[in-house]
């Protein structure tokens, strides 16, 4: 298993020098104490825990997996998982960014997200147990009655109980309108919930005393589609400690995140409590969807980072062949493979995607902090718009790139990458699901082109482009920045035209939007990363310490990004402009012949 060292220097760079959270966050109500030294102390404490406690049980957890015990419907998590969770709770991690009214520490997202990245890098399967709890916390906090909040939040904040989000059913995943689980009134204000939920992450385990399931189900006379879905709190154990009728039926056998229990949950008249308004369940769930999707995107980021650390160490250590232009280390039997251009291509791709992803995450975390706390409604709206636009981009682009990065990390190891004990193939397998769940990346692409761009006539996109243009304009006269600003301005212009082109085509044929969606999201992803790399280069140019190789490496990586990764947009644009016909022409019956 590659050793994990938290990228604290890069966190500090991104938070303090690039996104400059200190200019905004401590001015927001409730965050006065979130000063730079507090961020540093928290991140250091989290780094220690992740490096020393979570990373060492990552591979053993993958090997052991979770075990389902049919006799009592219980699940046993791998060795060390429960102890690490216990410690995590004692150290106060579950309440990091939770409401102080319920025992939380009330820290901003700009602090919570880097912590999440470290959890993900060191042990993504483990990180999902508290991750799902946080989702349940957020839902109850946003939509629960005071009574419900008092009943469930303190235990979720302390970590004494965990939570789940129960959406998917055997016949419906993406299209929740097909949902069948029923909720019958018991006559005492509670409901009897019946149905089967599948793919429930952290659905059953031995880490905590109780599990609070948040379940989507239909009331008796609810409308048939998505407008007839309500949200219910269904605890595994009632407040009087009696067992509720919700039981784990089995665990899925998965490609990755094997140490996280992906449960089938059977609700057999389980007692549940309505949360939020009847038939508004989906809306309740969606209030925390942005944060959940960003969290999912960060799995691509975190696993890419873990893989990069492994492949970088290996590339410096592994001696094979000589550098093309003569031995770099004549005294050794061969040169370390980092001398070879193709190995450098792989390492730099990992580095460039990972560091830009970290920057994007911090940028969006800051918008979430502003959206939640800023006293000015316009500022909140601006932030919310940017989050809405870039959330599908962050989710899909970061997980796709995470998959690219983990796969390259495995490739750097050659045959050893394919061998389990090196730990590199686990990162690929663990990353793969992030492209699928929390809305597949295809769905993210449709969300971007449809709801976020075309449906609002490109308003959010224009605002975003305006920010990028403003950045470019501000660099006028700075000769050092020309190599970044010129291609970025050209790319913005092309992207604007491309968006118009898709919009026009989609007016005649809706399939045109669907056909363009995935390529289009990748274009917007590249625009975003190019902007962030240009900004990082700017910070590096301006900081003035020429002796510090950290900044020089930022500039060099920005150049790599513009030269070697960004040109992908040209191919994507050609593909988009070829339209829907190449996809839609082939008759479904003619895809294969016997």
């Amino acid at each position: 298993m590659p050793a994990y060292t938290a990228p604290l220097r890069d966190f500090a760079f991104v938070l303090n020098e690039l996104i400059k959270v200190q200019e905004i966050v401590p001015t927001l109500p409730g965050y006065a104490e979130a000063t730079e030294d507090v961020y540093a102390s928290y991140l250091e404490a989290a780094a220690k825990f992740c490096e020393s406690e979570l990373a060492p049980i990552n591979r053993s957890g993958d090997e052991a997996g979770c075990v389902f015990n049919p006799a009592d419907h219980s699940v046993t998590t791998p060795d060390g998982f429960a102890a690490a969770y216990q410690q995590y709770c004692e150290l106060g991690f579950p309440g990091l960014d939770c409401d102080p009214a319920y025992g939380g520490q009330g820290m901003p997202k700009t602090l919570a997200f880097p912590v999440m990245e470290m959890l993900t890098s060191s042990n993504v399967a483990w990180s999902m147990y508290p991750g799902l709890s946080h989702g349940a916390y957020a839902a109850i906090h946003a939509h629960g009655t005071d009574e419900q909040k008092d009943a469930y939040l303190p235990q979720l904040v302390s970590g004494e109980w965990t939570g789940t989000m129960c959406l998917t059913e055997p016949h419906c995943g993406t299209d929740l309108g097909l949902l069948k689980s029923r909720a019958e009134p018991n006559g005492d204000g509670s409901y009897a919930i019946s149905g089967t939920k599948i793919f429930i992450s952290a659905g059953e385990h031995d880490l905590a005393d109780n599990i609070i399931h948040l379940v989507l189900a239909r009331l008796p006379d609810a409308p048939k589609d998505v407008k007839g879905i309500s949200l219910f709190i269904v605890p595994k154990f009632h407040t009087d400690a009696s067992r509720n009728d919700v039981f784990c039926g089995s665990l899925e056998h998965k490609m990755g995140i094997k140490a996280n229990a992906t449960a089938v949950l059977n609700f057999d008249g389980a007692k549940g409590y309505l949360i939020g308004e009847p038939n508004k369940g989906l809306a309740c769930m969606f209030t925390m969807m942005n944060a959940a999707r960003l969290g999912c995107g960060m799995q691509g980021l975190g696993l890419g980072e873990a893989s990069f650390q492994g492949s970088l160490a290996y590339a410096k250590d592994r001696l094979q062949m000589r550098a093309s232009n003569g031995p770099a280390f004549p005294e050794k039997s061969a040169d370390p493979i980092i001398v070879h251009p193709d190995v450098r291509r792989m390492l730099l791709t990992q580095k460039a995607y990972t560091e830009a992803g970290r920057a994007l995450t911090a940028l969006l975390a800051l918008q979430l902090d502003i959206e939640e706390k800023h006293p000015d409604a316009d500022q909140r709206k601006e932030a919310a718009d940017l989050v809405a636009l870039l959330t599908p981009v962050a989710k899909a682009f970061m997980t796709d790139n995470g998959y690219i990065a983990t796969n390259l990390g495995m490739q750097v190891f050659g045959g050893h990458g394919f061998i389990r004990e090196w730990g590199m193939e686990q990162l690929v397998r663990d990353c793969r699901i992030s492209q699928i769940y929390e809305g597949t990346n295809g769905i993210q692409a449709l969300d971007l082109i449809g709801r976020k761009v075309l449906l609002d006539q490109g308003q959010k996109l224009r605002k975003f482009s305006g920010m990028v243009v403003a950045f470019c304009k501000a660099q006028e006269g700075d000769e050092r920045m020309r190599e970044f600003v010129e291609p970025l301005m050209k790319l913005l212009k092309d992207t604007g035209e491309l968006t118009m082109h898709i919009g026009m085509a989609a007016m005649k044929n809706r399939d045109e939007a669907g056909a363009a969606a995935t390529d289009y999201l990748r274009v917007i992803g590249h625009v975003t990363y190019a902007w962030l790399w240009a900004r990082m280069a700017k910070v590096a140019f301006d900081q003035g310490d020429a002796a510090d190789p950290f900044y020089q490496a930022k500039i060099t990586t920005a150049r790599f990004y513009f030269a070697k990764l960004l040109p992908e947009v040209h191919g994507l644009m050609v593909s988009i402009k070829s339209g829907a016909a190449p996809l839609m022409t082939l008759d479904a019956e003619h895809f294969a012949f016997q």
Partner: protein, 249 residues
């Protein structure tokens, strides 16, 4: 009973240090700094003694640049009660550190002073011993176990031949070895709590201590790079080479 614990800010143990181009020192610009690991063990021991009801107050002290405050805050978050920062940008050698600590001890009047056995940057392993001598206190260095009573401290020391147990009259200086304990993780809420604990600032001049270096560093160099080895055919050739080439036999 009051405990005084000294903590030093050093280059993090994970960092591979480089020598400055002019050979004057190790380059610590933009390098991750942390609390000296042996000092962390010293803080942990004090906190455990407090939790066991043997110690009533823990004062942590650090000497050096402004950023030592961060190291002190970490110690406060681990459970120390208050901090003293003797701020100076000047180079501090073990004797100066011991004199400054003595001055702080004179003010604070602790019954027990706990230090790391050495700092991982200069590895001097002198400060605790010098401090005990300056104070005229007993010393229990390289401690792997500490039992504190009202009048005495029983300290198990890691010495070359094994373990040695000494009984010392209080007040006493103890220096922590690696196996004394395993320092705890900082609880997150304690980070904010630590910010509210008192941190007093002093200067070497306030304490009336002359910190002028007595030692001069002539040159700092990296260890010589290992050259490639050779394979010998048999034991006889090995012995011959050790005799004739290496001249170690």
């Amino acid at each position: 009973m009051k405990a005084l614990v000294a903590v030093k800010r050093v280059v993090d143990y994970n960092v591979k240090v480089r020598v400055k181009a002019d050979g004057s020192d190790v380059d610590i610009a933009n390098v991750k700094m942390s609390m000296n690991p042996f000092d962390e063990i010293a803080v942990e021991e004090a906190v455990r003694l407090k939790e066991a009801g043997k110690v009533s107050e823990i004062v942590v002290v650090s000497l050096g640049v402004k950023q030592c405050e961060e190291t002190l805050r970490t110690a406060l978050a681990m459970g120390a009660d208050r901090a003293v920062h003797v701020e100076t940008d000047a180079e501090l050698q073990p004797l100066a550190v011991a004199k400054l600590l003595k001055a702080v001890a004179d003010k604070e009047q602790p019954s027990i002073a706990i230090l790391g056995k050495q700092a991982i940057d200069d590895d001097a392993n002198q400060t605790g011993q010098m401090l005990a001598a300056l104070l005229g206190w007993g010393q229990g260095t390289f401690a792997s176990k500490v039992e504190l009573n009202a009048e005495t401290a029983t300290v198990t020391r890691e010495v070359d031949g094994g373990l040695e147990t000494v009984k010392l009259a209080l007040p006493v200086v103890i220096t922590a070895d690696l196996r004394l304990n395993e320092p705890r993780y900082v609880k997150l809420p304690n980070i904010m709590a630590a910010k509210k604990k008192p941190l007093d600032k002093l200067s070497p001049a306030d304490l009336g201590v002359d910190i002028a270096p007595r030692l001069k560093t002539l040159k700092v160099a990296e260890p010589a790079k290992r050259s490639a080895g050779i394979k010998v055919a048999n034991a006889a050739e090995l012995v011959a080479k050790l005799k004739n080439d290496a001249k170690v036999l």
